[in-house]
Assembly symmetry: C6
Homo-oligomer: 214 residues x 6
């Protein structure tokens, strides 16, 4: 039996939800990276039975975002005035590997800017701190799963182009592929300029009790 | 022998006590999620021999609540001026899994608003950070246990409707089911507008020694 | 050989010492829960080779006490201006289980109010955050041990009444049993209004170096 | 071969060095508990390959001392302005058990008061938070080792008197035994009123950078 | 199959990316040490499945840099006002050993000065706190891998010169070797005086909320 | 093969580098204890694959130094305004045992005073908090290794004199031995009054952002 409950692409109405692709023993699956912010003092929580490599991916995605906050128009004070939680459902399924890296980055970019992610878009690729997108495995299974789930566009590393070329054309004729080298390209493709419906209005209260008490 | 001492539904007079459903080797059981607040500086304690997945569920429930505190009318300063403890009796019985997620959320919503939870209501379902309610297992056993314990209404994920449809009607004719997709629906069903008898009056003392000393 | 050195009930002259009942391979024993406070900044130390379940019991007992401090007449600032240590002798004997829960609560109530615990009283029962007293095992052995140690009254969960009813009357004719449902009842039975001989005088120095340095 | 290098009693010129008795596979040994203070902010370090029970003994000894600081004439601010280190040589020999408890307490009482410990005195006994001295094992071997090492007086729990009575008189005729019930008795016997030669002069600088920076 | 994806030297346009040499079961490889800074309060994160020895190398590299910050023209306040992340792709490949020490140091020197690292340069060698460069293993395999990846210059410990002398000349005729004894020599060879294209402008805001809130 | 790369004594130009003696399966070796300070807030880092006993030795050495800072002329504020790192190369070789204790103390004394350590001097011995130097094992192998490495003087515990007496005179005729009882004697022998070439000038900036931000 599939370990992920077969998921369909849903919508892009909530900030911080990006669609990734996972490779499991029973084939490919889509998965959602969910990022959420709440007033606090900059703590960072990860959940969803994530293995060590996937946790390190999340840390790399966050460091890259923080190091490039200014370019993204993110007030850096948000990082120390809001708590961040990244969760990957389903919560009982162990997950690991570096391939969610760029999905995690996209999720973070969306939640910190409150901008929508492009609709019906999925992605898979490793992130590095210098902004490269590295190739990952299981491409064929991931792509077929994306199609079944209603995905229309997929972002991959240029080094994964050869894996797409090996898939029979008729299976993927209705999918659009984007082969990228850098995180900046991922961002340009995935993050729209449109805010989500009920965007979080960030409040940086300099002298409130929440921030002065620690 | 059953590992949970057979419990009956009790009452909704104490804030922060929500009724969940567990699935054990010896069948279904009801269980209570107990949340408690005391003046402090925002620490979070979990107890009751909870496994890693159940702990992550509690963290997701809390993050969702914090991210939506304003909509719930919760003064966000409570999170940093009160300590939170979530306990699940019986304290010696190991428990795990994601199915208590929405019960934990309901317990938290009640303790932070000091509003009563609807009487004779139980629930089971996984929570996600984007506010979806995911299906869980063991539905038949859980439902029968709820009935034995005096429960009259049950909240489930819409994706668990098929599990209810497979149960013989006569066993569940006196139960009312609510099939939901989102946490917001859980909240609308489970949290009454009525305060508990002796509600905790939150005090946010801006310059008291307890908060300024750290 | 008994793993606990056979202890006799001593006296109630020191605040924070409550008498519990343990169930070991070699039969029942009384045990002492010792709570101690010293000026500090609210740290919490547990010792006596306590297992995970017993540690969680202590945490639940403390959370319940903190959440009900006002009703007990405890200035909540004591929690952040004094360090708490709970120790259970003998220090080399591993101990576990939830049954010391209400004993731990009673020990804490005594040390934070500096009121005497009723003489020649022992108790055994699990504590929950909502204030229920749950039943525990090994009742017969525990009760016989209490009698040998000079105990005259015992507090138990109402759900343990059936275990007492099964003991031959002649063994327990000189013991008085209190069957309770809530922690409040334990408190009414166990904590006297009388202060201990040399009560600790709590000092909350708002701007002293000890509290301002962190 | 003995695992402790055969030690002789040395002298009482340094504050915080108390003589305990250990029981090893190759017989009894004396051991030194060394406590040291240095300006800091109240950290607590333990070393000497101490097992969990022995570490908990040290914590109990420290808590008892702190809770009774006023009676000992110790300015409680020292606890937060000086760092404490307890070390037990030889550093590579694993040590465990509760029997060093009263020796640790005596070492702490000496280092925080800078008073000398009585000469040629050793002790062995478990400490409890309520101030009782509990009996320990290996008495015969420990006593013989003490004699070989030049010890003239030994403090024991009254409950260990029966172990002394079983030793042939001629082996112990030149030793003086003190059987105690409480820590207070240990203190009265072991801590002299005389300061050590170069006593540490405690400085509590209220607004210095060392204490205000954290 | 090679566990590292065969990498080619890329360019020196990003600060904090230095090229090291790894020795794997399938031969030598180049690897990138990526260091990144973002506004924060001086936290230090390591990722890339690094073993304990490699983590200690990173700590030694950072300590050496901090101890010599003034000589490098680094404002020491940057260390407490910016968070540091060192990542080594590929993120799923376990890596260990001390040989990346001088590469880590070079990466750090570049990111804290925002100066370019010399082009087409790789290095391998252990770092020590006193500034020595110690020899490492796998030199032949590492050197051949460097050549395949487009590297033109290599820094090694003088004690590794004998390993180079054993390689056939024709394999390495187009490579330039630098044999060094100290970290200072590494720095003189590897760090150019030229700033990277879009250098990070360090901002030390003395009283901003980010730094005053902790 | 020797697990330590055969090292020769180098020089005493860098503060905080002391020469110890190790005993390995392949014989004796010299090893360097490297201590380094950088502006910070008093953190303490240990590296070099040190086992638990060796880490505890380092902690004891540091505590002794701090407790006797005034006698050494060390401004105690340095401890909270500078970060300390102790590293023992080679970084991949596991090391353990108490015998580096006095070498660690000497290294610390040098780095905190910026005074030179006497040339061509090595030492081996356990440190205790009360200032005793305890004997250690492997003396013959250590001494022969010291001689091969160019060492001319060696400090040992008086209790190790018997081990030297057992070595044939001709092997050690050009070595000078110092047998000591206390750390103070080690200090008098090992630490010169001369500052190192480029001494670190300690700066205690009372209100700078580095120290006020925590
Ligand atoms: Ca896990
Ligand atoms: Ca993915
Ligand atoms: Ca457990
Ligand atoms: Ca549930
Ligand atoms: Ca244990
Ligand atoms: Ca009990
Ligand atoms: Ca150990
Ligand atoms: Ca002892
Ligand atoms: Ca690992
Ligand atoms: Ca390298
Ligand atoms: Ca290790
Ligand atoms: Ca040594």
């Amino acid at each position: 039996a599939p370990i992920f409950d077969k998921e369909m692409y849903q919508d892009n109405s909530v900030a911080g939800v990006a669609t990734g692709l996972a490779w499991t023993q029973s084939g490919g699956e889509i998965l959602f990276i969910e990022s959420s912010l709440s007033k606090g003092r900059g703590t960072f929580t990860l959940s969803g039975q994530l293995g060590e490599v996937m946790r390190e991916s999340a840390m790399a995605a966050l460091s890259y975002l923080k190091a490039h906050a200014e370019e993204l128009g993110i007030d850096y004070r948000i990082f120390s005035h809001y708590d961040l939680h990244i969760h990957v459902p389903a919560g009982a399924v162990p997950k690991d590997g570096p391939s969610a890296g760029i999905t995690m980055f996209t999720s973070l970019a969306s939640v910190y800017t409150q901008q929508k992610i492009k609709e019906k878009l999925a992605m898979t690729g490793e992130i590095t701190l210098r902004g490269k997108v590295l190739p990952v495995g299981g491409i064929k299974e991931k792509v077929l799963a994306a199609r079944r789930a209603g995905i229309e566009e997929i972002i991959l590393s240029v080094k994964n182009k050869k894996d797409i070329d090996e898939i029979e054309k008729e299976y993927i004729k209705d999918l659009k592929f984007h082969f990228v080298e850098t995180i900046q390209e991922v961002l340009d493709l995935a993050l729209t300029k449109e805010k989500v419906k009920k965007p979080l209005i960030f409040k940086i209260e300099e002298n409130n009790p929440s921030t002065s008490q620690n």
